[in-house]
Symmetry: C2
Subunit: 235 residues, 2 copies
């Protein structure tokens, strides 16, 4: 299936959406001058982007994440975010340091991978909080990504993507008579728990809902989940 | 410090406690005839015990856990329990099978090691539930052990004992101005979450509170925690 350029998609299909559009950019895909031009951009509105680096250190890229961050530092009207992967924290225990390093290079918010493992997210948020507190660094907003899962196929795909799904939660989904409804219920529950965890520590917690599936039912469920989370945040 | 035999402690100091006393037995410590005599025992009251096996497979023992279970099978008035270690499930993912094997050898309840990792406990309970449901086996009561932690010394000792403490929870304890109070708050929270998890699945959840410290303040806190849990269970 052909993929669309995020900037083009935003301009063509989302102009009616009167909220900031955060454009993702795989920085290694573009020649430096193209990305530089895009960052410089025209117009006076603040622009939002999340830069994504290479999928692995062996991937050939036209520009590193660090070089892209440097381009941004010249433009005050460009609000840059970074990716945070709480699951990586389970193994390497240094995700908070990676995030803080991105913060020092100009990232002012972070968006996570799909969150199904609350424990891993708490571990990351906790280390991020205590490190920033010790070093006197500001706590940037962390936007948690939620993803509905409507079938065993989507579940397998998410695992392939690297989403860590705790054993009990996988059991719940596999044995549910309505896996989509169950995944939404569990995602809401995870968000409430993590929002409260962040609130106690003063970490601004946001939410991003996305569907990793092209299945219509799952896309519609993600829209419903986004509405539910909005309600939870407005409580 | 001299340790007391649990049976002796129960008879000498706990006679006023008009509830069943569950006597722990490290079965490898006794010659077979001594354990056999104890299991046969006198009196008509039902007796309760939890048998504990060797600390490692290389430890020399006078009797294996399997042999001890065989002795019990001759006595109907003897209610035997087994140890469950949810943390082991994180690595080996077979703790539910170990428990079910003990169940088939006559164990009618299980007591866990100290629970600080809710995720590990949920994983174990979930696999236990779905396996029993699939095989048509009864769900035995699982008694969750809670342990107050009043100092960094006790925290280090618990970790040495093999208790798995999630990173975020260790941070909370280390940075708390009142570590004992914080550990009790977090233990209560863990119990409520796991009790609810068991309730949804029809797993009877019990609670055992113990102090791994000889510190008076921690022992008293464990008594308070036991009272709190009793209240939670009676809700």
């Amino acid at each position: 299936m052909k993929t669309l350029d995020p900037q083009e998609y935003s301009q063509k299909y989302l102009t009616d959406l009167a909220i900031p559009h955060i454009i993702y950019r795989c920085v290694g895909k573009y020649p430096p001058e193209v990305l530089e031009q895009w960052i410089g951009g025209k117009g006076t509105d603040t622009r939002y982007s999340v830069f994504v680096g290479a999928a692995s250190s062996s991937q050939a890229v036209s520009m590193s994440l660090a070089q892209a961050y440097q381009l941004v530092s010249k433009n005050d009207a460009f609000l840059m975010g970074g990716v945070a992967i709480p699951e990586r924290h389970l193994l390497k225990a240094d995700e908070h340091l990676r995030v803080i390093s991105k913060q020092q290079k100009g990232c002012s918010y972070f968006v996570t991978q799909a969150v199904y493992n609350v424990e891993a997210s708490k571990n990351f948020l906790s280390d991020y909080y205590y490190h920033c507190r010790r070093e006197g660094l500001p706590l940037m907003p962390v936007v948690l990504t939620l993803t509905p899962c409507g079938s065993l196929k989507t579940l397998a795909f998410m695992k392939w993507l690297g989403v860590n799904i705790p054993r009990w939660l996988e059991n719940e989904l596999c044995h549910s008579s309505d896996i989509l409804d169950r995944s939404i219920h569990l995602s809401r529950q995870a968000f409430v728990e993590l929002q409260e965890f962040g609130r106690e520590k003063g970490i601004p917690i946001g939410c991003n809902v996305e569907s990793v599936s092209v299945n219509r039912v799952e896309i519609e469920a993600s829209i419903q989940l986004a509405r539910d989370i909005k309600q939870i945040m407005n409580r």
